[in-house]
């Protein structure tokens, strides 16, 4: 405890954590998506939920943070989590740093909640944004199913 207090005094004497926060965020930015993906896939949902809420509160990389909140809800799969995930993906899409997979995952959830127009729009935008997506052919099949049901 004494050592931690010494470290805290030392950091504060150099201007505190906030002074170099932007520099820190710039350094970790290239790793953020991979790290958060690993974090969410651990399926320790309560701990990851706290981490993501803190990240959202900082305002740093808001599209990425909301996307991974959506991922957490989708993977956790509690009764209201589908709608929570849809909400989080939609929030993510309000920011330019939302990964393209936000559109795909939103579209696939909208298929399940029977919002065919929303699903089609999201999946088509995903294919426009990532024309060489690894799952392109599968997404096209999903779009085909949506068209069939609409007829």
């Amino acid at each position: 405890m004494v050592r931690l207090q010494e470290l805290a005094r030392s950091v504060n004497a150099r201007g505190g954590i906030g002074r170099r926060r932007a520099e820190y965020l710039a350094q970790i930015e290239p790793l953020l998506s991979v790290s958060l993906g690993d974090e969410v896939s651990r399926r320790d949902f309560p701990a990851t939920d706290v981490l993501l809420r803190r990240l959202v509160a900082t305002g740093a990389r808001p599209g990425t943070a909301h996307f991974f909140q959506g991922e957490l809800y989708r993977l956790r799969g509690l009764s209201e989590d589908g709608q929570r995930a849809i909400g989080a993906y939609r929030q993510a899409l309000e920011f330019s740093d939302a990964p393209p997979q936000t559109l795909r995952n939103l579209g696939l959830l909208l298929v399940r909640s029977d919002d065919r127009a929303g699903a089609r729009s999201a999946l088509e935008r995903y294919l426009e944004l990532v024309p060489d997506a690894e799952d392109r052919e599968m997404v096209k099949v999903r779009l085909g199913h949506i068209e069939e049901v609409a007829r």
């Binding site: 690993d38 896939s41 651990r42 298929v111 690894e134 799952d135």
Partner: protein, 190 residues
Amino acid sequence: MTTRPYAWLVCALALVGCAVGPPRPALIEQQHSAVIGGALTVDPQIEWTSLRAEGHETWTVDGTALDALVFFPAVADGEGLLPPPAKGPDTRPRFRRGMSETEIAELVVDTLFPGRPQPRNLRPFEFARKPGFRFDVDYVTPGGLHRKALVAGAVVQDRLRLMVYVAVALHYFAEYRDVVERILSSVQLH
């Protein structure tokens, strides 16, 4: 790189064995169709050694560390691909009815492969004469071994039917690739 509790190599033996005791190897003969878990029928093409466990069956020629063909014949809604851990929290990814193929690929990768490799070339595929999917996986184990996998499956009658071929990239993956493709073409619902 994340170490997963169900990572393929870490639990290679757990995959073929289970809490009920060591697996009993059985010979799969080339000339007879094989029934997997009472749910799938396949034509083995060559002789294999089979190791049966709860919910899945593994075939190998040279040993599961080198090549393994794993069948998950009927994963039900709410089940994981592998049995729950003997102790500790059960954080296994679960199959859910209505999952998209993208989510199933994620389930397979998260359960079986270390390091969260990305499923490659996820595409439509007829599995057991039903509309299904297939994809490829390319990854390096925590010990530095390059491995490749081919995954194919379909959801039929609300159950996930899956076949996974995984082998060391050097020599072994290619060695049985054509055989595995023929087996894949022979899969039928039992």
